[in-house]
Symmetry: C2
Subunit: 195 residues, 2 copies
Amino acid sequence: MSSNTRQKMIEITARLVQAKGYHGTSLNEILQKSDAPRGSLYFHFPGGKKTLVLEAMKAGIEEVSTAVKSSMENSDDPAEGVMSNYQVLAQAMKESNYQMGCPVSSVVLDMPDIESELAEICREAYNLWNEVYYGAFVKAGIEPERALRLAKTVQAASEGAILMARSEQSIQPIEDIGKEMADMVSHVAGQKTQQ
Amino acid sequence: MSSNTRQKMIEITARLVQAKGYHGTSLNEILQKSDAPRGSLYFHFPGGKKTLVLEAMKAGIEEVSTAVKSSMENSDDPAEGVMSNYQVLAQAMKESNYQMGCPVSSVVLDMPDIESELAEICREAYNLWNEVYYGAFVKAGIEPERALRLAKTVQAASEGAILMARSEQSIQPIEDIGKEMADMVSHVAGQKTQQ
DNA sequence: CTTACTATGATGACCGGTCTATATTATATG
DNA sequence: CATATAATATAGACCGGTCATCATAGTAAG
């Protein structure tokens, strides 16, 4: 059977954590929105809140990862891939009323203790996403060192774009920044290719 | 006399909110770290936590604002200004053990109710910082529309760089992204100037 | 009868906020 | 100069509510 209660809790937790951060999300609200009893939570997630949030983050990270991969792979021009990636992000934010953006950033800003398992998975997420960009850039002929910096920049700009979009309740920043970043990528790729 | 208790509370709150977000910061901890009694808090900040955090954010926003202005004004080349700005950011993060970065981002990700006064000041902060970059870029001969997009991008990338630096506990991302952004700015400025 | 899951509610810690009482300082008045 | 008065600030007990956690019991299915 593999109860759907567990899955439901994960999805709801993912949304709440992105919307209000780790500390701002209460188990009571998760329970209420999941329409589940208290005991179920500790049955499915023996470690309590931490474990539940961890699962929710893992799910979100995987989702973002496949989205980025899909954007970059379905276009041989990396600049085009970056642009399409920002467009996907814009739509996702709009559809979620600007609540869903990055599954880890709210936790990064909520967790001062860098030694926790939660912090560890945040680090891994950034690396994972970076590698997708990096691979695409190298494949496009950009030299590795530059490709790495560029990947980080594309990633960072999209994180910042999410913050601004949330704040302004508009996809305008995402579109603007996406356009700039695509331009930058095509500039760098052009430089390195035409030699 | 204008007690220094008030100022002390603001500074400590600013640090705590940046480190753990709005919900993750408790009045008890602020009180304890400020070495002040409970009554003093509600004397100096009648609105309670919200008012206190608001003041702390205002102070932080102003601080960042002057830092960015200083970086951009003390260099006629905007690319150089951007680079220096990222360097200042890197040092600030390192000195604070990667706790201090942006005074508003943790609140943006913590506040689902966009109608609040807290959310309003976040919006204003982004605009304020953007205008500094925008002004410098226009002054360097970049056409207004492009300058606006570029300003947002530089801003967004630095927000993202903060997240990554915090997560990795390293200034490497800030340096890498700063280099890329400076390169991008000089590229755009070069385009528009040499006509 | 066991395994998987649901259901309920007690527990103690901590939350932000309110209250009254006291101390300190500044100003006014004689 | 001395004293009264008011404004400023400190001090901490206390409240109702919510937090995450956990113990225990019920239910359903194979």
